[in-house]
């Protein structure tokens, strides 16, 4: 169990004016599964490589249990990184690939064989040891890569986009496998992804990095309920933003007065709410019910997306298809934005 601390980690590549990673600080508790989330080029893979020792930071520090590891060579750091394209050594059998880390640690042959067999069993690939990596499917290759990393029992495990190369049905299988192995072995695990869904389903905590800087570090649900700013909300699929002024628990905007969940914030701000939390109303009996015009609808099977105009704001709502049957574009309707689901962004 290892506590990982990243302190003001910065990377400026030679010849670049802007840092690829700008003063990233992060505390990762022992045994936690943390996601570094961000669009491609945001500096998340750079961060991983610096933790793994494959890239030298410009400034800042990385400590494991309070001890700086920056001067440790990658092979002595107790970190194993699993790359996105798995990088199984093509000249070696699956068993030799998996046993590679132990061989480098001079574990004796019989012990390596025993542990390789055991871990292949754990990733549900028994009997594939003699195959060549090229004879395996993508999902199998990924499990071999995972087994190859876990067999050395690293203090910290790094995964680069662990689910992104997999089909939808394999993703859930892999997610469960990663989570169960990680929990069982108690390995502090950090993974990077550009896919918010991947981050949410897999991680205990998510660090959102935009433009080389950390935006928010929180539990997955917080990004939906309490995004720190508009760009964070947008990254998680937030579409609805209304500018206005908050005072004494009331938010004044071009839509009129809306109730806020509490009195804590005052002053200018932006009100945001999830598309899935808007309800269709039949009268004004509920607070925060406003007029809307339906401009478009999109049927997605399990849900229906509605595009609405509220005053001069374009708003998106996601509803149960049964609730919105019969509504046609152009129709005037009433929508309720419950006070307990709105979130105020103040600048």
């Amino acid at each position: 169990m290892t506590h990982v601390s990243i302190q003001s980690l910065t990377k400026v590549y030679p010849g670049a004016t802007e840092p690829s990673l700008d003063r990233l600080s992060l505390e990762i508790e022992s045994g936690e599964l943390t996601a570094l989330l961000g669009p491609s080029g945001c500096g998340k893979t750079t961060t991983m490589k610096m933790i793994a020792g494959l890239l030298e930071p410009t400034s800042g520090d990385v400590t494991f249990d309070g001890r700086s590891v920056l001067n440790d060579k990658p092979e002595h750091r107790g970190v194993v990184m699993v790359f996105q394209n798995y990088l199984l050594f093509p000249y070696m059998s699956v068993a030799d690939n998996v046993g590679f880390g132990l061989k480098m640690r001079k574990v004796d042959k019989a012990e390596i064989d025993r542990r390789v067999t055991a871990i292949l069993e754990q990733v549900k690939l028994p009997d594939l040891g003699k195959r060549k990596p090229s004879e395996l499917s993508g999902g199998q290759q990924q499990r071999v890569a995972l087994a190859r990393a876990l067999i050395v029992q690293p203090d910290v495990l790094l995964l680069d986009e662990p689910l992104s190369n997999l089909d939808a049905h394999l993703r859930f299988e892999m997610r469960d496998l990663i989570r169960s192995l990680q929990q069982e072995m108690g390995i502090t695990t950090i993974f990077v992804t550009h896919d918010q869904e991947e981050a949410v389903v897999l991680a205990d905590k998510v660090a959102l990095i935009l433009d080389g800087r950390m935006k928010q570090y929180d539990t997955p649900d917080a990004f939906y309920k309490r995004p720190i700013d508009e760009s964070t909300a947008r990254f998680f699929g937030g579409q609805n933003f209304i500018q206005g002024y908050a005072e004494n628990g009331i938010f004044e905007s071009s839509l009129g007065k809306l109730e806020l969940p509490d009195h804590s914030a005052n002053g200018k701000g932006t009100l945001t709410f999830r598309p899935e939390n808007i309800r269709i109303a039949t009268d004004y009996s509920q607070p925060n019910t406003v007029d809307a015009t339906l401009t478009d609808r999109l049927y997605l099977g399990t849900q229906t997306r509605l595009k609405l105009t509220l005053g001069n704001h374009n708003i998106e709502a996601i509803c149960n298809p049964i609730d919105v049957e019969g509504l046609t574009p152009g129709q005037n309707i009433l929508v309720t934005i419950p006070a307990d689901v709105v979130w105020l962004l103040t600048s």
């Binding site: 990658p74 092979e75 050594f89 093509p90 190859r148 990393a149």
Partner: protein
Amino acid sequence: MSAKESIGIRSFRFLTGALLIIWLVLPLIPLAIWSFAHGWFFPNLLPAKWSMRAWEYTFSDTAGVIDSLWLTIGISLAATVLSILIGVPAGRALGMYKFRGKEFVELLILAPIIVPGIAVVLGIHSVFISMGLNNTVTGVILVHLIPTLPYMILVMSGIFANYDPAFESQARSLGASPVKTFWYVTLPAIMPGIIVGGLFAFLVSWSQYILTLLIGGGRVVTLPLLLFNFATSGRNDITGAIGMIYILPGIFILLLTARHLSGRSGAVGGFGQI
């Protein structure tokens, strides 16, 4: 594909194959006959008398052929090893990295293939004299690097252009030291290139004449020099016998590497630059 067409293609392939073999093998037949001939004169299609005396002489102590053979093998092996040691890192730099002046460096490496060796060697000769390297085996080995290195570097840069260095990062991350990473991960990946490039280097060094003659000053007598001596002195029978020995490595290497030289292998991809 229709059966008729496939027969056409097959017979064409057979014809070209047969022509190639005739082209390569025919010139060697008189050589083989000469080595067993006891005099072979004009209107005769075959020698009037056969004998083993050329072969007996070739393998005798006085001829110096065996000494020369070992010397040539030694020089070519040394030039090959040095070519590999220099060519692998150089090929990596050219195949994997972009840097300022890369085109110029590539041109410089190709230059020995374009510029005749005799033009270069005269300059090198005076440099080697001042360094005491002329008339020495070391000097000959070093000068052989001029024609061998371009082949080695081109082969290796072709290999490294298709090489993913992330495998090395992965090995380090799994606990391999830099030396072990090279041994277990890099070396197996580039081995086809080292084999093909190394064999090329060996053959190129094996067939050097002018460079050996000038730098060796006649004191480093490799097989081609010896062969030339007998050829110019009119001893066709001995020339034939030595010639047969001389072509052995070429045939051996051709058989060994035919698989790698098919053009589908990445090992010869670098030759596209010539």
